[in-house]
């Protein structure tokens, strides 16, 4: 079980003057499910790439389980934090689906039996169990993205970081990503994901962190950040509340970011009026 902590994180890319991340303090406890949302270019990807040491802070510190990530070896970080890129082609290179998924598991030092088990489980979780021998480049874009997810799942890291996992996925793909996150959560793993799909965020995560221009502007439960009082902040950040929130607001209900919440509030109101 691992705690992550960002302290005064600032990142300025080489050859740039833009503060992509501009002073972020964030603590994520073990087992939390955190969505990071925000306008395009608000620093989400830059932020999460600090969690497994892909980027080093320009200022501030990243603490993984109390240790400064800058002092941890890449291999030590890789055993703790698994990161799935937005673009799968940045991480796929093997000649078969199974070899691709096995690579990371091998590198984190799993023995053969554990590795076989982890790889099979990751393939099944992502719906790729029938594609073991397929060349990754014979898969379509969306399944290549699921393959990248499977590769990181197989490393069985206590922390999973997913950069826009639902982008380009159809209904079935979004369901797969949702169930992978729920299963990881049930196993006590921490999940941090970037997403622009507010409906998916409200249904899948316990905590939502909203970024704007490199800073955190809202941090709370889906019901909190999508409540009507936050709508002006959302709008300034190029975001919008999920559809059920808007329906609930028109009906004078408290924050209802999911279909389930909307129906629950309507039931409460109906039983109140009976009393």
């Amino acid at each position: 079980m691992i705690e992550l902590r960002l302290e005064g994180l600032v990142h300025v890319y080489r050859d740039s003057t833009v503060r992509a991340v501009d002073g972020v303090d964030l603590q994520v406890g073990p087992g939390q499910r955190v969505a990071i949302v925000g306008q395009n270019g608000s620093g989400k990807t830059t932020l999460v790439r600090h969690l497994n040491g892909l980027l080093r802070p320009t200022e501030g510190r990243v603490l993984v389980d109390g240790s400064d990530a800058a002092r941890l070896h890449v291999a030590q970080l890789a055993r703790r934090v698994g990161l799935v890129f937005q673009d799968p082609d940045r991480q796929i290179f093997a000649r078969s689906v199974r070899a691709e998924v096995e690579f990371g598991a091998r590198n984190v030092g799993m023995d053969r039996a554990d590795r076989n088990d982890a790889v099979s489980q990751a393939l099944a979780a992502t719906g790729l169990e029938g594609e073991s021998d397929t060349n990754p480049y014979d898969l379509g874009d969306s399944r290549r993205k699921l393959l990248a997810l499977a590769s990181v799942l197989a490393m069985r890291t206590p922390v999973l970081v997913l950069d826009e996992p639902t982008t380009g996925q159809d209904v079935r793909g979004v369901e797969i990503v949702g169930s992978v996150i729920r299963a990881a959560h049930a196993e006590g793993r921490t999940v941090i994901a970037i997403s622009h799909d507010m409906g998916f965020v409200a249904e899948t995560f316990d905590r939502v962190v909203i970024m704007r221009e490199g800073r955190i502007v809202l941090d709370g439960s889906p019901a909190g950040v999508f409540a009507q009082r936050a709508w002006s902040t959302l709008e300034e950040t190029y975001l919008e509340p999920p559809f059920p929130s808007r329906v609930g607001a028109r009906l004078g209900l408290d924050s209802t970011p999911t279909d389930e919440a909307l129906i629950a509030r309507l039931r409460e109101r109906a039983s109140d009026s009976v009393l």
């Binding site: 890319y13 050859d15 740039s16 833009v18 949302v37 925000g38 306008q39 395009n40 270019g41 989400k44 990807t45 937005q86 673009d87 379509g140 874009d141 969306s142 399944r143 826009e164 982008t167 380009g168 996925q169 159809d170 209904v171 079935r172 793909g173 979004v174 622009h196 507010m198 409906g199 709008e235 950040t237 190029y238 975001l239 919008e240 999920p242 559809f243 059920p244 329906v247 028109r250 009906l251 279909d259 909307l262 129906i263 309507l266 039931r267």
Partner: protein
């Protein structure tokens, strides 16, 4: 007007065609949505409709693609490019990689049409403006975030001002605000007479801007009709397509016994 007549396309080396017997008509001023599960053939349809396949992407095509009545296989590439523009699914594919700033990148297309410099500048600022990215004008396109790059790719297409626009999941990486801007922009272009073909997983967007929608599955058209009808069809999810939020919430409410007038009115 863009017409596909019984078009099938098989990539070189592939065993099966990626699209089969696809016929559709895209009228002037119309926005036509194409939905379907992953690997249904949506991208191939875009490549064929834009004339890039089989011209630049090897494969065998049956049937005909007609652009304003002219067979696209007979049109010279420069004429094709001036009349029909495509926005690829991955902006990294679209960005030239040879321009130092976003402004130059968006101006690159219209410069190649041989337009006057002043005209190119006006078109470029217009494109930046409608997409809300004027602040990115001086940035290096290769150092943008995925979503920002996608907006720049769309900007490059808009600056060409083609009569026919073909967009392959253009908002996949965009935030909700950017998605809305792109939607409004496409609706305005169509109102001005442009013909637009757009593939999307975001059916909420298609619901707002498309008059008609076709559903593609395993390379063939399995449903077609007015947007409201197609996207509210009971079998849509079974075809691998998400119902728009409005349709989904309406069903959930009705299923929970809240199908009365006042509550249903709140959906609109």
């Amino acid at each position: 007007m863009l017409v596909l007549e019984a078009v099938s396309y098989r990539y070189a080396g592939a065993e099966r065609p990626a699209i089969r017997q696809v016929s559709l008509t895209l009228d002037k001023g119309e926005v036509l949505g194409v939905v379907g599960p992953s690997e249904a053939g949506k991208t191939t349809l875009c490549l064929v409709a834009s004339g890039l396949a089989p011209r630049a992407i090897r494969g065998a095509m049956d049937g005909r693609v007609l652009l304003d009545g002219a067979d696209t296989t007979a049109l010279p590439m420069h004429e094709m490019a001036a009349r029909a523009g495509i926005c690829f699914q991955h902006p990294q594919t679209q960005i030239s990689g040879i321009c130092g700033t976003v402004f130059e990148e968006i101006a690159f297309g219209p410069m190649n049409l041989g337009l006057q410099r002043d005209d190119v500048v006006v078109r470029t600022w217009d494109a930046l403006d409608v997409l809300g990215i004027t602040a990115l004008a001086e940035r290096d396109p290769m150092q943008l975030s995925g979503g920002q790059m996608q907006l720049v790719a769309i900007g490059g297409l808009l600056a060409l001002r083609p009569a026919h626009l073909i967009l392959d999941e253009p908002t996949a990486q965009l935030d909700p605000g950017g998605t809305r801007l792109v939607g409004e922009c496409l609706a305005r272009l169509a109102a001005g007479g442009a013909s637009i073909l757009i593939t999307e997983q975001k059916t909420d967007l298609l619901e707002r801007i498309c008059g008609r929608v076709v559903v593609l599955e395993k390379g063939g058209i399995v449903a077609a009709g007015p947007t409201d009808e197609v996207l509210a069809a009971a079998g849509l999810a079974a075809m691998g397509v998400a119902a728009p939020s409005r349709v989904r919430v309406r069903r959930a409410l009705a299923g929970a016994g809240f199908g009365d007038g006042a509550i249903m009115d709140a959906l609109h």
